[in-house]
Structure formats: structure tokens, C-alpha cells
């Protein structure tokens, strides 16, 4: 499993991650981010794309 961290001090709700993997990342009605904190290894490519496309470099993955 891959652990996903988002630094909420950095996140500005651009929604890049939501566009890449809408099943793993969501914005609520107030544009606050929520996400799946443990993700199967098969989704590594999506997670790496989210990490590398986040304009605030707020996403970090581990494992």
C-alpha cells in the first residue's frame, strides 16, 4: 500500500489531483480537499502524476 499525505497548509484546492484520480481525491462543496490515505500499489502512476502536477507541491507519497 502507498500512503498519501496532503499538506493542508499548502493545498489551495487547484483540483489537479481530482482531475487525475477522482476516485482518490475529492473537493467538497467548500472546495476543501479530501483523499484516500492508503492506496493500492496498482495506482502508483496516478499518484505520481498527482504529486508532480500539484501546483503547490502539497502531495507526498510514501511506500
Amino acid at each position: 500500500m502507498i500512503k498519501v499525505h496532503i499538506d493542508l497548509n499548502l493545498c489551495q484546492s487547484h483540483g489537479e489531483c481530482v482531475a487525475i484520480a477522482p476516485d482518490l481525491f475529492q473537493l467538497d462543496e467548500n472546495d476543501f480537499i479530501s483523499w484516500q490515505e492508503e492506496v493500492d500499489d496498482s495506482r502508483r502512476a496516478d499518484l505520481e502524476a498527482a504529486v508532480n502536477t500539484c501546483p503547490m507541491t502539497a502531495i507526498r507519497i510514501e511506500g
Binding site: H14, G15, V18, D31, T53, P55
Partner: protein, 412 residues
Amino acid sequence: MRLVIVGASLSGLRAAQAARRAGHEGELIVIGAEPHLPYTRPPLSKELLQGKQEIEDSALPVDELDVQWRLGTEATGLDRTRRRVRLQNGGEEHYDRLIIATGCRARRFDGPGAHLDGVHTLRTLEDAVALRAALASTRRLLVVGAGFIGCEVAASARSLGVEVTMVDIASHPLVPFGPALGKRWAQMHRDHGVELRLGPGLEALYGDTGSERVAGARLSDGTSVEADTVLIALGATLNTEWLTGSGLELDPGVACDPTLTSTRDPEILAAGDIASVPAALAGGARVRVEHWTTAAEHGQLAGRNALVAHDERTAHTAPPYFWTDQYDAKIQALGCPALAEHSELLELSPDGGRFVAACVQGRLVVGVVAVNAARRLAWYRRALQTPRPLTELKEALAQEDATLGSPVGAMP
């Protein structure tokens, strides 16, 4: 295989990371004109200028990439026959595959008074540090150019209590968001106390007699603006001089096919601001996109594509995404709103503070602009993965139950 990347900003870094992730085990050389490891530029005009972030916060995580960094040296020439990049420090780098990501620099004002103290541009970390220091003792800032950098700096300066005059020859600020919303952006700046002068251009800067310090500007309509600090925000100039005589097609960016491969040399790819790439939204014409996300996406793709033969490379298809933060508005856009003939409001929150507008050319939606509506923009991004007519987009929207609200009446 020896992979050389020229350009050590966002695109160059993402290319290096992608190449390593895709299994590149050979040498990896990244050449950068600036003395720094890669950093992210968006905070320079906002958080850094406002004092909410420090210099080190803009550093991009570099990981353990096993890169040979050649920093603080510009590429000065490209010899494709010998496959070598010539460097300012006299050295050369041999490549098997080359990724060009040298981007842009700030365009300068070259009229009278351009040399005066107190005249700034904003592109690099040093620029931002110098401007931040200047704003601390500025009474009135003159911003020349009401594009992204100009408007963001104007907003940052207002938040610091600095008086701001902003001039632009265009009829409204933020041209890339399209013509229809321009009045709204103009009003936003005026509401926050910016003196906005639309129409006249900058003729000359002047100092007080006997002083080398800027004191004001003369505009093309004959009027003057007093200012003790001036930001020239007239867009960007491509860093392509070093490619002159290389035989690469420059249009004036590096002309590429959809896989970011140079039209003249399959061993050479380009990424970011400098890459001129065919775009579906522009009817297949090549466009250059000077925005953060495209630079990140191009870099990732170029890094992977550089490792394989030309016919195995994949195309870049994502429409542009870009944003700006000014005062309390996050303005986000997809596609090419500047191509639009008109805009149509699709969603509006009951309080009027959040909305989404479609930017339309002919029947086709060529762009979407959203204000304080990030969640909704993600929906449009999925809905507009391929260009669609407005009627079709509206039908899809009618099936959605989580919109901001129905727009009533004219544009906000």
C-alpha cells in the same frame, strides 16, 4: 544513453524525474542558467512578495535523482552534427538525447529611463527578493502591464498598503481569460484601490533632476504618473538565442510534433514555455503555453518520450490549465479562453461570488473560466477532455445536480 536537459526550472526537473522513474540508468545532465536548484515561480508574485513565504519555501523537492547539475551557466550554442551543447563557461556537453526547456525571461522596457534605479521586472527569485525589499519603502508603485504578473503584484502591493497605479494598452486586464470577463477584473482591482489606466502605453520613465532614482512615467496619452518604484510586466521573451544556427525550426518557439519532438531532429525534444506544439483547441495549429501546469506536464512527458524511439512516443493532449490568485479571488481557467468570441455564464452561486463561464468560439467551447469554484472546474475538466459544442456541454450540465446554481440575467 546520455540524456541532457537544458533548463533547470520546473519542466527540466519534471523531465529528469520522469526519465529516472521510467528506468533511465545512464548519465543525466541538467544545465541551468540560474545558480539555484529548481524552484517554483508562482509564489514569487504572491506569497513571497506578501511576506507569507520565505525564499526556501519555493524550492521544489529534488529527490535523489543522480543528476549532474551544471548550474549558473547558460547554454550558448547547439551543434547537432556533433551532438553537443556549448556552455557559457567554455565547456561542452555531449548528448544522445536532448530536452530543451530553457523557457523565457522577463521582457524589458527599452525606452528612455529604463536604466533608472527602482525599475524592476519579476521572473527570478532574485527579482522577487529585490522587489519585496523595494515595496517595503515604496509610496506608489507603477505597474506597467496588466497581465498575470502585473495584476498579481498589484494585488500583493495593495495588501502591503502600497498605493498602486497599473497601466496597460489593452482595454481590460488579464487578456488570457478572454474579452468577456475583462470588465469584472478591472472592477476588482479598482474596488481594491488600484488606479487603473487602460489604453495608454509607457513612453518614458524619468527621475528627478540629478537623481538616478525613478520618480515617474510619461504615458502615450500625454499624462504622467508619479511612482517611486516601477514594475515592468510586459510579458516574456523566449530564451532561444542559443539555438540560432542550429537548424531547428523556431516559430519562434521550438517547433514540435504532438510528442514534443522537434520537427527537425528526433533526438531533440522541447518542454514548457519554449515548446510550440499542435493543439486540438487551436484546430491543430501549434501553440505555446506559458503556464505552470503545461510546463510540469510537458516535462513529465518529454522525460519519458526521450527514452524511446520517435514512433513509440506519446502525444501531449491535455488542454491548458492556469490560474491566478488576486485579493480573495481564485480565478482558474481551462483551454484557450483568449480564442473565444463570447462567453456565457453557466453557473452562478446565490451570493454572486462564485461562477463558471464557458468561452465560446463558433459553436465550440474553447475554454472555461471559474472564480472560487475549484470543485466545479474539476467536473468541466473531465467534461472537456475533447473539444465539445456548447449545446452538448449544457446538456451534460443539466444532468448535474451539484452545480453552484443557475445563472439569472447577464454576466456578473
